[in-house]
Subunit: 187 residues, 2 copies
DNA sequence: GGAATCCTTTACCATTTGGTAAGTGACCAC
DNA sequence: GTGGTCACTTACCAAATGGTAAAGGATTCC
C-alpha cells in the first residue's frame, strides 16, 4: 500500500482494515507509522540487493553477467512492482530515509559501476559512461512496470507476452550499448 | 507540491502557507481540493501536449521529426520536472483522473504511434514495435528527471553537463532503435 | 489451577484535514 | 456616497489521523 498509494496516502486505519486487524495491532508490533515505514524500506532494499547480488554471482564478470543481472532485475520488477514503487516513493520522504536506503543500495551500485568500468578497460564492453548505462537501464526497467498509465496509453497491458517483449527491449539496449562491435551511437 | 510530495501528501494548509495566503483563499478560487487537482492536471496535460505538438510541427515526419520531438520532450522534462511528477502521480489517483488525463494525451500518443508505424512501412525506420519504442523513450526521459535518488546513487546530479549527456543517451537509443542501417537487436 | 507473557481489542485523545459560514476591506458603477 | 461585486480573512466544524492507556483473551510455564 505504501508503494501503490504512497506513504502519505496510506493511513494506518486503511492498512489495518486491509489486514483484517485494528490499527492498534499494527502499533503494537511497530513503534509508529514511521517505524513501520523504516522496516518496510529496509526489507525492500535488502530484497533488491539480495536479488542483484545473487544474479551477479551466477556468472563471471562480462556480457553473460550483465544479461543475468538485467534479467533478474526485470523479473523482480515484474514480479514485485511494489518494490519499484517503494524505491520511487523514497525520494518524497525525509532525507533520513533517503540516506538509509541509499546506504544499503550503494555497494551494489558501486559494484556494477566498477564492473562496467573494468569491462570497458579490458575491451569487453564498448567505452562509454557506466553511470549512463546504469541509469538508463534502471529507468527502462522501473518505468515500464511502475507506470500503468503509460502502458495503457500505448495500448498495452503487462501480461506475459508484453513482459517478454519489454525484457528484450531492455536486453537489446544493454547489448547495443555495451557491444564493442556496434559503432558508437554519437552522431 | 502535488508532484513533489504527492496529492495525498500535500494539505491545503501546506499549499496556502507556501502561497502566503489562507486555505480558504484557495477554496474560494477552486471548488475543492479535488477541483484544484483537476485543473492542475488539465493544465499539465495541455502543456505537455502543446509542447509535443509544437515540436512535431517543426519538421516533416521522419528522423528529423523524431529528434525534434525527443529533444523537446527532454527539455520540457528537465525544465519542468513537476510535469513528470504529476504524470506519475496520476496512476495513484481515481480512475476518473486517469481517464481524463489519458483523454488529453491519447491523441498525441496515437499520432506518434502511427507516425512511427508508417515510417516503418515506408522503410524510413527499422521495423519493430512502435509501442515499445515510445514506452522505452518515455521511461528514459521521465525516469532520469523524476528520480533524484537514482541519480545520486550513481554519483550524478542533474546539471547542464549531465542533462546533455542524458539527452544524448535518449537520442542514441532512438537512433539505434529506428535506424535501418543497424542490425536488428534480437539475438 | 494460577501467574505471566503475548497479542489484540475497546476507549480515548490531540492534531490535522477538507470544507462551510459569515464577515471585512477594496474597488467600481452610478 | 451608496450598493454591489470581488478577493480574502476569521471563526468554526465534522471527520480522519497518528498515537496512548487500559482492558480482555489465549497460550505457556510451573
Amino acid at each position: 500500500m505504501f508503494a501503490e498509494r504512497g506513504v502519505a496516502g496510506t493511513s494506518l486505519d486503511d492498512l489495518a482494515a486491509q489486514l483484517g486487524v485494528t490499527k492498534q495491532t499494527i502499533l503494537y508490533h511497530f513503534k509508529s507509522k514511521n517505524g513501520l515505514l523504516v522496516e518496510v524500506l529496509g526489507l525492500a532494499a535488502a530484497e533488491l540487493v539480495a536479488t542483484l547480488e545473487e544474479a551477479a554471482a551466477v556468472s563471471q564478470p562480462g556480457r553473460a553477467q550483465v544479461d543475468e543481472i538485467a534479467r533478474a532485475a526485470f523479473a523482480l520488477a515484474v514480479r514485485r512492482p511494489d518494490l519499484v514503487g517503494l524505491l520511487r516513493e523514497v525520494s518524497r520522504l525525509d532525507q533520513a530515509h533517503v540516506t538509509s536506503v541509499l546506504a544499503v543500495l550503494q555497494p551494489v551500485v558501486d559494484d556494477a559501476l566498477s564492473a562496467l568500468s573494468s569491462g570497458m578497460d579490458s575491451g569487453i564492453f564498448r567505452r562509454s559512461d557506466p553511470r549512463l548505462i546504469l541509469l538508463s537501464t534502471y529507468s527502462l526497467v522501473t518505468g515500464v512496470v511502475a507506470d500503468p498509465v503509460a502502458l495503457t496509453a500505448v495500448g498495452m497491458q503487462l501480461d506475459v507476452r508484453a513482459a517478454v517483449q519489454l525484457r528484450s527491449a531492455v536486453l537489446d539496449f544493454l547489448h547495443t550499448s555495451l557491444d564493442p562491435l556496434h559503432e558508437t551511437g554519437t552522431h
